[in-house]
Point group: D2
Chain length 332, copies 4
């Protein structure tokens, strides 16, 4: 249950009440707001005269619910607003991993030349094998920060586990929470306190309900800049790496108030399918794309098969605008 | 292994050779063709001087493989060619089930008015419960045939099991093999002998490999008019009815030589998501769409939740052309 | 809804009433019984004075429901009763396919020597590739019948599609409906009319609800000798062929009134895991086992990897009795 | 590749070599051991004269592979050895969450009275909703420690994220890594350095390959006391909470050298199925069980539906010994 308190209630009073009724206290659009379990359907007399409005819900999808906010929440990435009252669709692109200054600079130059505003690159790689490349860590974060300064790009990079969440939050512009880390309370709570946008990726074994509830951890922690990112779920089909769940995207658009960004690269796992899938994503009417592109995919230290080369990426990029226009979206 | 024999080899000789080497014999584009298991990688001396060309394959995806035919096979539905050297994308629409003459005529009139060439409607419903509506059977086929005569529409209807496959083949223009029937050898063999296009739906628990191999049954039976239809696979996610596998569509487009038609209605299971999903399908660059639309979805005897009403369908239809144009497709 | 009519109501009257209220009419234990959709929760006045008892249900799992019959239905295979008031667990074993008289006779001799009552062997193989061995067909059925006469074994063989369902019903003692055929209405209806036990295998993409509803087709067709067979479902895991769903077996034991037989061979797909899995199945307290064993698995024409050889099978068989005894089952 | 160095090579030299060839350095049974990516199939001349033995592998399942160690690794829990040359099967039981001193003491007393050696109970609950009970945290750990002192029980409790991994390692006897945390490098690395057994749970969306590779993180970190725990995977079936993957258990037993413990409670999700499933697990020949039991399941603050009450647990416990005996296991 979400309880919006009257404007005359101070933050201190709200915090006290929250404690009393075992609720989470936060401020939404300047209003003192309390959130309890969705099992609570009515509030007893203790709050008489203090309540401006209440919302009840079928399940714990509450702050993220379209039944709570009729419009989509707005998030800003590198000066570009997505969601809210915009029709913007942003491109975030770059290599799977930051591998060297030379490599990430080649990527940054490509973004800059193409007018793309956001550069992605992983520094803490959640590899499944201890014998694979694990990422450059802090050194990688510093390289990304250097690219931001030099090329004016917003930086999107992933937090893998709670041991380095503070470093990632410090260096990045958008905190990406990876598919394998999205249940991590240590990370989700840190994101809740952060004042930067969070790109939350759906786990490949995660239901839509659980996924949006992970976003609730961040929202109820006080950070309302949350973006949902679908990147493929694990199914019985293994000719492709994962199965991009666009039915799920239709659900998120209908039932939540959060912007949605899609990552077709990880879903497909093979470069050959990425362009068609990307265009399908665009036609869904989403808020952004996350595409892996590498100066030389063949020598990439991770996810080599799925990264586009620069030429393939340019061709794809060119084909996106007409589709975006066809459905009334502005491609940034 | 596919063996194309020289032009001077007669059909009778080819049949004899096929028997000798345990191969399937068929005629592809006027050429006597033999197909063995893909485990056969070379052919012994018995065929010396008779072979024009051979193709070997990694697995039993052979006649359907893009490595065999570099271009897509062409199929004609109601005067509209899809695949081949065309860029056509066809709309097939209509109710889940034929329920009455009044209902199917309302659907036929809508198709006619909108310039749509093909009408779908199920007569033998593969319901999972014996206590649900099972379809009108032969009576339904006759109603569809009546609509064809009256409105000049091509008819697409489903065969559920081998007991009525001959009746369906007789009445329909396109033989639809349903998701639950696609392993059925009785049906696949009858389709192989038929001289009508076959719309083969992927089973919801079927791998891409198995799915295309089911198409091989029909192709190797002598019918080269086969269309693959993705309609959603079963995954752990149940907020939506199934999960539309567009990664799989990218695979089919790359690895096979068969036209691909998509059915977003069954995948989503809820009308609210069908328009966005349909647009995503269009942007994939596919050969056709199969959409469920009903004069009054609320009273539909099957799949009520997922059928669009006429107004929703008209709005969706209007939004398709600009996307098709954006990717160079002609929407029919 | 299940309606048991009073004893004075004749079969003819019951049939008339069934027509009037759109119900299925059958005789259960000598009582005229009507079954409607489970959506029907009460019956109007038309049947006043005729009703002995009614049962309502949450969904279309009705005749198969444990809420309808408090005890398990009984089925007889080759003189062995399973289910009902017995604690019997039967072994059904034999090769995947009948390949030759020599091969099936070697299998039959093994069964005979070990005191096993039922021999399995496929004649119509539902292969996914048209270029694989498709089974000996009618010739195979005749070989199985020969083994029955010669060795006194009950025969269990599979129907693949409706084109040969009558032949299978004629020759076999237990009609096995395969995982790929279990939605087939042509087969299910024929089984409903047959007077032989039906071993219904769960499709690998089939929910428990759908699976038990397929049994409802047979039960409501008038054949109450139905056995449920779990043989593995398709999941993301592919180190093993399928995933044996013993949670599902717990569900079937609790919620249905049908005997349950397990097929660990197909689930595992590799002989190395079959013995441990089989012992796990036994400890679940089930009614029977279906195990693939071949005189020489290496040269088997289908499913070579998963079939035990005779020695492995003997060792496994020996280890079963102590577990059966530990849980109070009698192993036949 | 695993490289066992000769006995005369010191740890310091081994560490230097490891750096040079980009390998992980650890001591296995007193031998200096280097592990590289499995892609490395031979080692160049730099190590001439230093190598005692090498092992190559098809994939990064190396230290955990049965091809490396022919016998199972041994782990000690509360004085009970499992794996190794024992046939022991241990019972670990207790409530899902530590809720209060009274509750956990009732559980501890039950274990004590029944001769069970290990008590489980969660303190940091990885709940999917921010509005659910999140566990007692450090206070819970202290209560568990108190039970250990008072009743002489080994404590098994779960680490949820890296922020409290040190606290859990300090208080617990067995570090349980939960299904949602098993990809967490922060946790896996801390476990690698710990000198306590680790019970690693398989993620519900995790392949067997990935799962065993997570164990490789711990093994290659220097801790060889790792236990694999199967607890159900997420499939399309939702009549049960998850699907217990016993085919996967057969794989783990065959292909790895690690003890295996099973958790049927989480897999089933409903108390009614837990006894049968538990007996099936026992018959697989595993090394231990993890069962949820609560003094009063109805009021449990998490997973209420799946916890057995004390009476149900006693009945189950009694039925286990005969099966264990039947397959030659000693139940502790």
């Amino acid at each position: 249950m979400i309880i919006k308190l009257k404007q005359n209630i101070t933050s201190e009073s709200a915090a006290q009440i929250a404690k009393k009724i075992n609720a989470i206290h936060l401020t939404e659009n300047g209003t003192q707001t309390l959130v309890t379990s969705s099992k609570v359907k009515e509030i007893n007399g203790a709050l008489d005269g203090m309540i401006a409005e209440t919302f009840t819900f079928e399940n714990d999808l509450q702050l993220a619910s379209a039944n709570y906010l009729p419009h989509k929440r707005s998030v800003e990435i590198g000066g570009v607003k997505i969601g809210g009252d915009t029709n913007n669709m942003i491109m975030i692109a770059g290599p799977c991993s930051v591998e060297s200054e030379e490599q990430i600079e080649a990527s940054a130059q490509l973004m800059k030349a193409m007018g793309i505003k956001a550069l992605r690159g992983g520094c803490f790689k959640p590899r499944t094998s201890p014998y694979s490349f694990q990422g450059l860590g802090l050194e990688g974060l510093k390289l990304l920060a250097k690219m931001r300064e030099k090329y004016g790009l917003a930086i999107v990079t992933e937090v893998r586990d709670a041991t380095h969440v503070d470093a990632v939050i410090e260096y990045t512009d958008v905190i990406q929470v990876g598919a394998k880390a999205m249940y991590d309370h240590g990370i989700l709570r840190a994101c809740g306190k952060a004042r930067k946008p969070v790109l939350l990726k759906r786990g490949f074994g995660t239901t839509l309900q659980e996924f949006v509830q992970a976003a609730e951890f961040i929202l109820s922690g006080g950070n309302n800049q949350v973006i949902l990112c679908e990147r493929g779920i694990r199914t019985f089909e293994n000719q492709t790496r994962f199965t991009l769940d666009l039915c799920g995207v239709a659900f998120m658009k209908e039932k939540t108030n959060l912007p949605v960004i899609l990552d077709p690269s990880h879903a497909m796992g093979y470069a050959y399918g990425v362009p068609d899938l990307t265009r399908a994503c665009v036609a869904m009417g989403i808020d952004g794309l996350l595409i892996e592109v590498h100066p030389n995919p063949k020598v990439a230290k991770s996810d080599a098969a799925q990264q586009l080369n620069h030429e393939e990426f340019r061709l794809l990029h060119k084909s996106i605008q007409p589709i975006a226009t066809a459905i009334g979206r502005i491609f940034v």
